[in-house]
Amino acid sequence: MSSPADVLPRARAARDVALIDLLDRLLQGGIVIHGEITLAAADVDLVALDLSLVVAAIDKLAGS
């Protein structure tokens, strides 16, 4: 049985196309440990692909 890491780089679109999926998963998905997520505010690079998604995620994180 192959592992996910072996499989299909062709499934991964160009990095800029996958960025929206990366943001969605890392900032809104995954196991939540405490609800305390602290991120440095400096040098935030808001990507133009979906500002509403990033802003909503950051707002949620800043409020937790």
């Binding site: 592992s3 900032l27 440990i33 997520i37």
Partner: protein
């Protein structure tokens, strides 16, 4: 000093698959209650930027080679090893059940976008089928729901679990995540690539760790 968490796996603490993570900090495996957490130590919280997020993602993906991993939401910090082990102990049953659920599987993302420049298939897309003609006459939300049903019909049978979001926005009508057995990933991608939906394009990315199927969104 805090510990940044990347992922949680089961079994004896196995060595990290890569040496460094965010900020080029060394990665460590911390064991407790039959679980293993992958961490790195930081003096300050991690910055939110594209390179950092990709670094984090690569660490979690690499760790999937050692077995099933629960990806942790980016930016999750614990104060020290005892605090981490307390989390593993208190949540052992839940985390073990989640690992069993995703074992041998990965997540694939499929996003639909309307193919017309105006992101509205009614004026900008010439329907080639009766179905497309009818869809063009529906409102945006109904068109998005119809689109999601097409995706379900074509793809759901290949997935253990699915998560659909149908915001109906002109630029993002449907977004879906699929938990797919690793042996079925290639077949799934082939099917997405061969799927033809009038006035819409499908963007497939992955395989990802199972972010959408663990944690707070696992029941969504």
């Amino acid at each position: 000093m805090s510990l940044l968490l990347y992922a949680i796996g089961d079994g004896v603490a196995s060595a990290p698959r890569v040496r460094t993570g965010v900020g080029s900090r060394p990665l460590r495996s911390i064991g407790g209650s039959g679980l293993t957490a992958l961490v790195s130590e930081h003096d300050v919280p991690p910055a939110l930027d594209e390179d950092t997020l990709w670094t984090f993602e690569r660490v979690v993906e690499a760790q999937m080679e050692s077995g099933p991993v629960l990806p942790v939401r980016f930016g999750s910090l614990v104060s020290d090893v005892p605090a981490l082990q307390r989390v593993l102990r208190e949540r052992h049953r839940e985390l073990t059940a989640q690992l069993d659920r995703i074992r041998g599987a990965a997540e694939l993302s499929v996003r639909a976008v309307w193919s017309s420049a105006e992101a509205d298939p009614a004026p900008g897309c010439t329907p080639h089928t009766g179905t497309a003609y009818l869809m063009a006459r529906l409102g945006p939300q109904r068109r998005a729901r119809a689109l999601s049903e097409r995706m379900r019909d074509a793809l759901d049978d290949l997935a253990r679990e699915t998560r659909y979001r149908v915001p109906g926005r002109p630029d993002a009508p449907v977004s879906a995540a699929f938990l797919v057995g690793v042996d079925d990933v290639e077949m799934f991608v082939d099917r997405v690539e061969s799927l033809r939906i009038d006035c819409a394009e499908l963007i497939c990315t992955g395989p990802w760790p199972a972010y959408s199927f663990v944690g707070a969104r696992s029941s969504g």
